[in-house]
């Protein structure tokens, strides 16, 4: 890194998602950062753009039987099964501690039915210390035979509408990559009133122990995350950012500021760091520093000058 002279102004890293302003575009991905507190002794939480907490459901969920995780080449599979403490315990046990952190808290919500999502959004609508909702639509719709909400445009739109009507908070809808054309879902959700889109959730994958001929995960299949999925995520972010006018948050394998910049250049307004929190807990802070240095080296004053700046011949 070049030495920064005192004459170099600190660039403006602020970005806006709906009505929410983030001090910088670097957020933590749901399910990879617990409820924030787990990382408090290793990471300065007040330097982050936003903290997105573990997905919350109406009732507590025990999650899947073990084994739940397995490392693969440059990535990992997980089938946690959306284990969480449920919305009431989240509000009473997890949120109070988070209120002392100056960083906006975004609550990731999940449900089995459209009604679940609406009730969750309603319950969280007036709770102090929540800056936005992120709606995980990769979950199965129990009433529709377990088809994931995020794979059918009408269902994705219906969830978005229900949440939109239940809260005044900014609504970010998190898209599943396990679809044929993600831009169709993205448009449906944007048209239904989402303030932002985040993508991608994990890619469905699998691994087998050939000695025992058994799956590595008790759930047989699981979600692939980490650097292995970055090119796929980047491609999807680029495709989606071109067709919607609301902010897109890029997620998938981001470890370094260069990774983050790729997503910003492709059109993402902000990014989330997921699996990297596990192997490099300070990745988020390093990305913030790296973004600042990148702008200063190029004498750019604002991160906005980078977002969507991809040059294609």
């Amino acid at each position: 890194m070049e030495p920064v002279t005192s004459a170099t102004p600190t660039p403006d890293l602020r970005v806006r998602i709906g009505g929410l302003t983030l001090r910088n575009p670097v957020c933590t991905a749901s399910g990879t950062f617990g409820y924030g507190r787990e990382f408090a002794s290793l990471v300065d939480l007040n330097r982050l753009g936003a903290i997105i907490v573990k997905g919350i459901s109406l009732l507590p969920r025990p999650g899947n039987p073990p084994p739940r995780i397995f490392e693969t080449a440059c990535g990992m599979l997980n089938a946690i099964g959306l284990e969480n403490v449920g919305v009431e315990r989240f509000i009473s046990e997890k949120l109070p501690w988070l209120r002392q952190v100056t960083t906006p808290v975004i609550v990731n919500i999940l449900g089995d039915s459209i009604d679940d999502y609406a009730r969750l959004a309603g319950r969280l609508a007036t709770v102090e210390g929540i800056s936005a909702l992120e709606v995980n639509i990769s979950c199965p719709n129990v009433k529709k035979g377990g088809v994931a909400f995020g794979t059918v445009p009408e269902m994705a739109a219906a969830v978005t509408t229900a949440v939109r009507q239940a809260t005044a908070l900014p609504v970010i809808v998190k898209l599943s990559p396990n679809v044929t054309d993600i831009t169709v879902i993205a448009r449906a959700v944007a048209d239904a009133g989402a303030d932002g889109l985040s993508l991608i959730n994990t890619l469905l994958g699998m691994a087998i122990d050939v000695r025992t001929r058994r799956p590595r995960l008790a759930n047989v299949v699981g979600g692939l995350s980490g650097p292995a999925i970055k090119p796929v995520a980047l491609r999807m972010v680029w495709q989606v950012a071109k067709v919607v006018s609301i902010p897109v948050i890029g997620i998938g394998g981001i470890t370094t500021s260069e990774d983050a910049l790729e997503f910003l250049v492709a059109g993402a307004t902000a990014i989330q760091v997921g699996t990297a929190n596990f192997y490099q807990p300070t990745a988020t802070e390093e990305i913030v520093d790296g973004l600042t240095a990148y702008l200063q080296e190029r004498e750019l004053t604002s991160i906005g000058q980078v977002i969507g700046s991809l040059q294609v011949d």
């Binding site: 399910g31 990879t32 950062f33 617990g34 787990e38 990382f39 002794s41 290793l42 573990k54 025990p62 999650g63 039987p65 073990p66 084994p67 739940r68 995780i69 397995f70 490392e71 080449a73 440059c74 990535g75 990992m76 997980n78 946690i80 284990e83 980490g226 650097p227 470890t255 699996t275 929190n277 596990f278 192997y279 490099q280 807990p281 300070t282």
Partner: protein, 261 residues
Amino acid sequence: MSEFQEKSPVLTREQLTADVVRLTLHCPRIAAAAKPGQFVMVRAGETLDPLLRRPFSIHKVTAEGGLAVLFKVIGKGTRLLATAAPGSSLDVIGPLGRGFYPDKTGPHCLIGGGMGIAPLYFLAHQLLAAGSSHANPPVLLGAQTQAELMLLAQEFTELGYPVLTATDDGSLGHQGFVTDLLDALLTEVRQVYVCGPLPMMRTVAAKCRGAGVACQVSLETHMACGLGACLGCTFPASSGGYRHVCKDGPVFSAEEVAWSR
């Protein structure tokens, strides 16, 4: 409870057998806070494959900020770590998890199988430092071969503990399971601490339960974070539901574990 991330120079590297290595790292903040039974998450190299940190029990700590891990090479992460040379550094997070609860009220027995011996040395050391008497029953150590056990058994002896050994091939001590050695001791002890392969811990837990002896077990699961964030490290609890090995453990009362599930 607070954990630290330290860039830790490798102080010494000892090759105990063809595939067992002991590294002593300089990570003063982690070493100063460490308790027996806790573990560290170590990054094996700086590339993205292997990706996740590897969990290792804290084997020893020194007053000078040294922390030793003892491990067997089983896959790509441990293979890389085994090549860490003095002068190089490893990225370490710790101390993590809830360690052993040191019960000083009566005679105790430590049982280690394979690399499960690692945390027991730190525990033995602390129990002695805390004034637990030398009149304890032997430490029981089991491994596949003599080579793995020789130096470790000697180190427990030097601490002042009698040691009984068992090897699969009979090359040192009893031929067979280390758990076979427990039966004769159960009437003398109040507390058993065990770390080793799951079937061995299951056997020890059952024997202790039968004899009404308290038993603490140290469990292993795959881990992504070690911090209680990923929720990947679960095992079924006897009371229903799951526990997280990295946060609720890795040491548990044997009664908390649903051994049959």
